[in-house]
């Protein structure tokens, strides 16, 4: 009953065998050199500096995200362009007529939404790699709990208590001095 999946099994085993067979052949054929240069991470001669486990600037991720936006755009626009071309090239009366303009409008909407994303990134200043001094300093967006009435009440209460304590201490000190 699982015979349908036999092809999957064959595919998987051939794939695995292919990988290991090639590794085996390579290990037999390749020259065995164990000088220090051969053990470097980049054999082309680039010397590594430090480890890869370092903190990257968060802005790399922003750039990567913006890149994804445009990668998706390209990936979508190619098939769209093909369809558009075919729709216009349709032969005879009415063959594909109409879908061309429809597809064009859809494509424009798609581009407009993407452009909106770019405009957003731009307006938020994420395209400037070097931040100018006029740029806003980073402010962590915490919760503003000190604005709350009760918190203010409590703070006032604490201030009052602290003052009372100070007064009491001062009174005690003065009575000691008098004694």
């Amino acid at each position: 009953m699982y015979f349908d999946y036999f092809t999957v099994l064959v595919f998987a085993s051939v794939g695995l065998a292919f990988v290991f067979a090639n590794l085996l052949i390579a290990s037999v054929l390749r020259p065995q050199r164990t000088q220090d240069e051969g053990l470097e991470t980049y054999e082309c001669g680039e010397v590594t500096i430090g480890e890869a486990w370092i903190q990257f600037d968060i802005r790399y991720y922003t750039v990567a995200l913006v890149y994804v936006v445009f990668a998706v755009e390209i990936a979508f626009l190619f098939p769209w362009a093909i369809v558009l071309k075919e729709a216009y090239a349709g032969t005879g009366a009415g063959a594909g007529a109409g879908i061309g303009i429809f597809a064009l409008i859809e494509g424009v909407i798609f581009l407009a939404v993407l452009a909106l994303g770019l405009a957003y990134v731009w307006a938020k200043g994420d395209l400037d790699w070097v931040l100018t001094y006029s740029a806003q300093p980073y402010q962590p967006a915490g919760r503003e709990s000190s604005n709350l009435p009760l918190v203010q009440e409590l703070e006032k209460e604490q201030e009052r208590l602290a003052e009372e304590r100070k007064k009491a201490a001062a009174a005690a000190a003065s009575s000691e001095a008098a004694a």
Binding site: Y2, F102, L116, Q139, G142, L148, P149, L150, E153
Partner: protein, 500 residues
């Protein structure tokens, strides 16, 4: 082509939502992040338009058989419109909460509304498709927006932690679910649920030949849904995320996001197993799925209620209570009969109302006391009767006592369980309700039975007003159940008949 153009009016609410999303982005950019309240008002107005379109659609759909399928993927039926209406309603409430959250900044939070609308759009597609690929897309749109929303206060450690936990759990479960979907595709050769139920390589045909792959695939997909609605083995993220996320976001996650997960789950199981005139193999398999759901339901409600007993933070307590409520809804599903599903739908509608209200109350108190600790409520009951009395209504409803919508929903679930041979589960639910009474009434006790506090309660009257409206609705639908019940019946009926 003309087909496409003619189909467009059917997805007018989705289009309106997308346009609104873009408009919110543009307006926020034009305001340069100043005075984000204006963006919030725009969002509210836009949601009103979307709700108006949805109401028109509901009327237009008329009888249940009038469901439409758009672009071969989107099912426009009463079932989806029902959930979309409730989604828009809860989104509007959440936007109001954001606007009235005194601890929220006034400037530079336009993205808040943008992300909420994005999540709402994801829900729209998620609840109205039988196409597993589109379902996954909708789910991911919802999830991605929810992750960012959970971490919206990025300077707050708990908020960042909530987002991180949510992303890790969400990514894992999305992967599990996708794997299940790919197995289903491998078995049946289609990603459309209707075709899966009736096509040439339908699941029914595969049950008899090889039950194991089918079972593995379906359980994996169910696991993905179980994460979204926080059913027991996949509930671990819920308390931490609910506690750490900003309170309006928590109310969104607990209400709209969870109900959307249930909607997709109902459609998934319904399209495959709750089919009219299904043959024996399908019914037998459906019964097994029902048994699985029943066990999960019992575990979920028991664990949720027991864990809620010991919580001191209101948000954490409501998180565990929302796990328990997921168990109650699952119980209605587990009957695998229309009556049980109607009850589940009704309970979801009730859940929307009472939970939104409860979170509104949490927000109100948080914006006065700066904490969501139950202890900080002590003796404040008489200080703000306009909010505390509605809160008692919500708690009564969450417990399942009359005369509230929560009672009606639970009663319907109980009867459906007894009628369909799930007496044990009905009893488990009744016992659980007693347990839940204890922790819900800890809030009432703190509010009214402690020494009256000397503090004043300068809260926001607009927030109190919206909480009051929700409380009125909670009682109203509890006493006058006919319309809500009719809507639920029509929705489940449209799910059964499908869009051909």
């Amino acid at each position: 082509m003309s087909n496409y153009l003619q189909s467009l009016p059917s997805i007018a609410p989705e289009i309106a939502m997308t346009v609104l999303l873009c408009a919110v982005l543009v307006v926020d950019l034009l305001l340069k992040g100043r005075d984000s309240r204006k963006v919030g008002y725009l969002t509210l107005g836009g949601l009103g338009v979307v709700a108006w379109l949805l109401l028109g659609q509901w009327g237009e759909l008329g009888s249940a058989g009038a469901a439409k399928r758009v672009f071969g993927m989107i099912d426009i039926d009463r079932f989806s419109t029902f959930f979309k209406l409730f989604t828009v309603g809860s989104l509007a409430a959440v936007v109001l909460f954001v606007l009235l959250d005194r601890r929220e900044r006034r400037h530079g939070i336009g993205e808040y509304y943008l992300l909420l609308l994005g999540a709402g759009l994801g829900i729209f597609f998620m609840v109205s498709t039988s196409n597993l690929l589109l379902l996954m897309l909708g789910l991911e749109l919802l999830s991605l927006a929810s992750y960012s929303l959970a971490g919206f206060h990025k300077g707050d450690k708990r908020s960042a932690e909530a987002a991180m936990k949510y992303v890790v759990f969400g990514g894992l479960s999305a992967g599990v679910m996708l794997y299940g979907i790919s197995l289903l595709y491998g078995i049946t050769g289609t990603i459309d649920l209707t075709e899966m139920a009736s096509g040439p390589h339908s699941l029914a045909a595969q049950f008899s030949s090889g039950p194991v792959p089918v079972a593995v695939a379906i359980v994996l997909v169910l696991a993905g849904f179980a994460y979204k609605v926080s059913v027991v083995p996949f509930h671990f993220w819920t308390p931490d995320v609910y506690e750490g996320a900003p309170t309006p976001v928590t109310s969104f996650l607990a209400v709209a996001s969870k109900a959307a997960g249930f909607a997709a789950l109902l459609r998934f199981v319904g399209k495959l197993f709750l089919v009219d005139g299904a043959d024996g193999a399908v019914q037998q398999y459906g019964a097994r799925i029902g048994a699985l759901l029943a066990i999960l339901s019992a575990l979920t409600m028991t664990l949720g209620n027991l864990a809620a007993l010991r919580q001191s933070s209101m948000k954490r307590m409501l998180a565990y209570s929302s796990i328990a409520h997921a168990g109650y809804v699952l119980m209605g599903m587990a009957t695998m009969e229309s009556s049980g599903w109607n009850a589940a739908m009704f309970y979801l509608a009730a859940y929307y109302l009472m939970n939104l209200g409860a979170f509104g109350f949490v927000l109100y108190f948080e914006s006065v006391t700066g904490s969501d600790d139950i202890a900080s409520l002590k003796g404040l009951g008489a200080k703000a009767l306009w909010v505390t009395v509605p809160m008692v209504v919500f708690l009564v409803s969450l417990t399942g006592l009359p005369p509230t919508v929560g009672f009606t929903g639970k009663y319907m679930l109980f009867v459906a369980g007894v009628d369909n041979g799930l007496l044990w589960l009905s009893l488990v639910m009744a016992l659980n309700s007693v347990v839940s009474l204890f922790y819900y009434f800890r809030i009432v006790k703190a509010l009214f039975l402690a020494e009256p506090a000397e503090r004043s309660m300068p809260g926001q009257s607009a927030l109190a007003g919206s909480i009051f409206v929700l409380a009125v609705l909670t009682v109203l639908f509890g006493l006058y159940i006919a319309p809500l019940q009719a809507w639920c019946d029509a929705s489940v009926e449209s799910l059964r008949l499908g869009a051909g």
